[in-house]
Amino acid sequence: MMIHGGPCPFKRLGLQGLQGIAPVLVAALATEEPLLLIGPHGTAKSLLLTQVATALGLEFRHYNASLLNFDDLVGFPMPGKDGRLDYVKTPAAIWGAGAVIFDEISRCRPDIQNKLFPIIHERKVQGLALAGLRYRWAAMNPPSTDDNDNGYLGSEPLDTALADRFAFVVEMPAWTALNEDEQLAIIQANDCPITTEAAHYLAELVARTRTTLPSISQSLASGVASYVRTLVALLAQAGIALSPRRAGMLYRSVLAVNAAALALNPGMDAAEAALLAVKNALPQRAQGIAVPEVKLLAAHREAWRFANIAPGDPLKAILCAADPVERLRLAVAASELPKAAFSQVVADALAQLQTGSREAAIVHLFETGAVGRLNAAVAGQAAELYRDMATPPQFSETMHASNNRFKTWGKVKDLLSQLDPAQPRANLRANALAAAFLRKELASPNDADLAFAAFASTDAQLGFA
């Protein structure tokens, strides 16, 4: 996303390529919520924070968290006159600072990380309020995890609770994301003092964002709240779990980024600003957990689309149900749901269900007649699976006795022997398991066990056991 209005305030501070995340950074400054920058070395994380602190005239402390001792933060403890513990304040101690920067926060010792927690969370150290501390900022390299080959050895995933305290978790643009002019500007950069105009411009933007925020909140509050509620549910369905605290943070971040975007570029789209806010407010990045762009974008679009739906609309309840079986059950019960929406909900739910559970859900669609409300493509796919359950799939396959597939078949036979052929539903369950084996969806005896149990539990959940 580009800011088409005024110039990027960070460019004026000598920082290149930040126009895309400028509304997020301005929102973080306006709200004074904790900000975490993540990026490879040399992406100007520290420079950004120190330049901003200087431009805003803040008294700030810049700590390298990997080398930090607690005494560096608070000074030396000394018994006070009335039994209180006082600290001998050194020039580097945190007392009196307006902004604090914890660089390399992912490389600091766990005991120090624990001590940073209350500073970031509640502006307190050792239970003492840090009067005057407004901004809490941190920076880190991408953490090293099994899933992240680009992570830095020594940069540990941030503790979940600590990561969840940063309202803004911003990924710094990579070198390759910058255009030629920006790259050349970085190569030829030299230390220049921040001009008064540049400092004033940034302060002005922050002030304008603060002024706009109440009216933005008033006009967008209910829509954004609904958007965040649906978004959190959809992300959870996609395996991206967020805490209730994060839901509240997202709500405030979306409003603040909208206000900042308005200050930077009055023509900017609210949905675009919301997506930008969400992209830069997920704690997973600090933990080295990949957040697939496609899933995020899909969830955002759906949530934004449904943000304007009336509160009583059944689609809202359906989309907010985390369990795909429950979503399918609610959708089947909501007979007024339009065909396209119903088909979408069912297709999504079926795609998320495990083998066994999916087959039981399809039986439910046919037994309730709801299959007739689906579009032809989704109904046709469901019917192919239903046919293999309602009529016994017949097959004969030669395999080596040492083969894992043969062992899986042995397990399937054991499970089928538990069923009573006189019970109609037992035939469905048996056929479902046999058909899944035939489709090679059961790779191990354990898979067979899981599918067998999943059919029964979903069948029971849908009221047909």
Partner: protein, 164 residues
């Protein structure tokens, strides 16, 4: 449901290190009829067969309307007139809104033997499903003669008795 391969012994003679082979088979949990007196053995639900008269294949909408004894209102609109009849008949059939299509067998009962009923099914049917709300596709209907729908047990009691 599984048995030893008859060729296993000869394989053993040729290659002692080769693991033995087995044949696994499945043809249903039992041979019992599972749900309906009208149903076929091992089938969960009631199969209902629809058959189009042999001389109907490849015919025009105008011919079919005449065959059905319906006067043609406008020669150019025969297809639309037939679609209306098909939709109306589909709405009358006491079937669920959607039914799975299963392989046809001569043992499957023909509950609705009339031509318009057969058209109402075949024109709204893919290889896997019949959908009542689907737009009729007469060309597809006239390419095959018969189809069997599987009516789930909960809907089977709405079906008329099989004509004797």
């Amino acid at each position: 449901m599984s048995s030893s391969d008859p060729g296993e012994r000869s394989d053993l003679l040729h290659n002692m290190s080769a693991p033995p082979k087995s044949v696994v088979k499945y043809s249903g949990l039992s041979n019992l009829a599972t749900s309906s007196s009208q149903g076929s053995a091992g089938v969960f639900g009631t199969p209902v067969r629809f058959v189009l008269p042999a001389d109907m294949l490849g015919k025009t909408p105008a011919y079919i309307l005449r065959y059905l004894g319906v006067s043609l209102l406008h020669a150019k609109e025969a297809a639309q007139q037939l679609d209306l009849l098909i939709n109306a008949r589909a709405d009358e059939l006491t079937l669920p809104e959607g039914c799975a299509v299963i392989p046809t067998a001569s043992s499957h009962p023909v509950i609705w033997p009339d031509t318009l009923s057969a058209l109402a099914i075949l024109a709204k049917c893919s290889d896997s499903i019949w959908l009542r709300c689907k737009q009729p596709a007469l060309n597809a209907a006239l390419k095959r003669r018969q189809v069997t729908l599987l009516v789930p047990p909960l809907f089977a009691n709405h079906l008329p008795k099989v004509p004797s």
